[in-house]
Amino acid sequence: MSEQEFYIGWKPEPPPQLAKLVRRFILTLLIAIPALALAIVYNQRGFASSTYDLGKPSTLDGTIYLHPAPFLVLAATGQQLLLVSPGKFGGEKSIETIEKKIGSGLDGKKVQATGILIYHDGKTILELEEAKLLSDQREPSAKPTPVNLGKVLLRGEITDPKCLLGTMQPAEGKPHLDCAVRCIAGGITPVLKVSNQLGDTEYYILSAVNGQSIQEALLPCVGQGVQICGTLYQHGDWLMLETTSGDIKKINKLSLNQGTMCQ
């Protein structure tokens, strides 16, 4: 390198020979950057066509039930919307706030509910914001009667349905694990997402035996492959898997087919 080619940053211009190499370096970046951006974007697995109607609240008439999970059963169609609250909280939080405000319990009562719809793949959630009591009488008849489908063993991933069905993309796997933990710890009804090789998916609401909450027990298993043994119920529009913490096992990558725990 000659003296003329020695680089001094505080001089107005770099030596021509060095400027040439730097230009080549920048040219390489100008080619590499678009190629890299394209390669990274194109090779993602894709995102679900889920919807979170943020900023577009809906008002719906229906009956609220708190057990085995917080639901709004729509008066018009009988459709069962799972209830959640704003943020990473289950429907109980909004319901408690509204109950305090109106001074009356909401379980089993007809209301006009306002909230944000979250939906994907035929499943719908309402992020409950407000509710007006339409009748102070309990309406147990609107509550779906569970149909026992028998004891089953299911493999899938435990996650929170609020993110999965609309608020986040992607809402599964390792990157979403912490969020799913936060959502389930906040009381959002957990679901087991199960897929077959054809890409069909089903969502099983998880509940403890006797319809109790199972959130805390699930936290160590969220966001990863698990196999769960339990009793399956058709509960209106939703499938519900009743299980105990002892019947949930993480799937070890090397022993995927050792699933004989469900007797």
Binding site: Q44, A48, P175, A185
Partner: protein, 360 residues
């Protein structure tokens, strides 16, 4: 060089550097977002920001880490090193956007503080598959923050170049953690062989260049130790040791020497030979890889200058180097490795027959 601390000392080349840096960053972000909207229009704005900034920060860190070894392997890359600090600060800022959006997206609006959530939602440290990769990202971000916060020359002088450089070498730990943050995080979901291949390519490039540079440095360090000579003749003053021959030092350049743990740069210029401490006062740059320009030793990293006879920066600058006594006996150069106090004037050794050198 500067005698006062400016927020940024805007040399013209820094402006050009920053314009290109910002332009290329913008190009990546625009293309990434554009491609996302073309191929995956369903993506949410939060995920778009998280992925665009995450991939950009990781790319920038790769470029930053390649600049050092590239410069050591080929000094023509030194213009890329000159303003690398701005590239580092920009990388921190992009990483911070990624980190903040992730923390809000995945940890805020819940039943505990978002930072508490970040640290406690997943504590499966014993499993590679379940390892809480976000912690690795957080630790890397803290390192990048410390580097960005101390990047200014004010901190360089306050901490001393040695401490500052040691602190800034923690970027290597940040890189290792970020590589695993990516591999144990998003790659566990995305799984694409192309994406895995890109991370592998990046890792090979960074590690490969650093290995090549490390091997070159080992060679340089070995060459810096002078060959053992037979006992010096009586003509050689006491305490002087053999350094090299006059011809071993290129004109207006230097040779690095390591004698009795002293790192010395011995310069040849205008028929004279002078020796100073090899480390620039600014960032401990290797002065032996510099040049004599306008009669001054000039550091290859940021152009700091010193007079070879006394190791002092020309006024109004105040940096000073240790100096050493040099003795020439025929073709052989001898040096006394005992340093004089910084800025001590020492007469250079005169090369005999410099105007009419005897050719073999």
């Amino acid at each position: 060089m500067s005698v006062t601390y400016d927020s940024i000392h805007w040399a013209p080349q820094k402006k050009v550097y920053d314009k290109w840096m910002i332009g290329l960053m913008a190009l990546y972000l625009v293309l990434f977002c554009g491609f996302q909207l073309v191929f995956f229009p369903e993506i949410t704005p939060e995920t778009l920001i998280i992925r665009a900034t995450g991939t950009l920060a990781f790319l920038m860190l790769h470029i930053i880490l390649c600049i050092g070894p590239l410069c050591r392997l080929d000094r023509r890359f030194l213009p890329l090193l000159y303003n690398r600090r701005h590239l580092g600060v920009a990388t921190f800022l992009v990483s911070a956007i990624h980190g903040v959006f992730n923390t809000i997206q995945f940890h805020a609006f819940g039943n505990v503080n978002p930072l508490f959530s970040l640290l406690t939602s997943n504590t499966d440290f014993t499993s590679l598959q379940g390892f809480p990769f976000q912690i690795l990202g957080l630790l890397s971000l803290i390192i990048l923050f410390l580097m960005a916060a101390t990047s200014h020359d004010f901190w360089l002088n306050r901490l001393s170049p040695r401490v500052w450089k040691t602190l800034h070498m923690s970027v290597y730990a940040a890189y290792a953690m970020l590589m695993m943050h990516v591999m144990l995080g998003v790659i566990q979901l995305e799984k694409s062989p192309v994406l895995i291949g890109i991370t592998g390519l990046g890792l090979s490039l960074v590690v490969g260049l650093h290995l090549l540079s490390a091997l070159a440095q080992l060679k340089t360090l070995r060459r810096a130790v002078p060959a053992k000579q037979a006992a010096a003749s009586e003509a050689i003053p006491k305490d002087f040791v053999y350094a090299c021959t006059v011809d071993d030092i290129p004109e207006n350049c230097a040779k690095m020497l390591i004698i009795k743990n002293e790192n010395i740069a011995i310069f040849k210029y205008d028929g004279k030979v002078s020796a100073v401490h090899n480390l620039c006062k600014h960032q401990n740059g290797p002065l032996s890889e510099g040049r004599i320009i306008d009669g001054c030793i000039t550091c290859p990293w940021h152009g700091y200058q010193y007079l070879p006879e006394n190791g002092q920066s020309p006024p109004p600058f105040t940096e000073k180097l240790h100096t050493y006594d040099v003795h020439i006996d025929g073709e052989k150069v001898y040096i006394n490795p005992k340093p004089y106090p910084e800025g001590t004037s020492r007469p250079p050794a005169i090369i005999p027959n410099y105007l009419n050198p005897v050719k073999p």
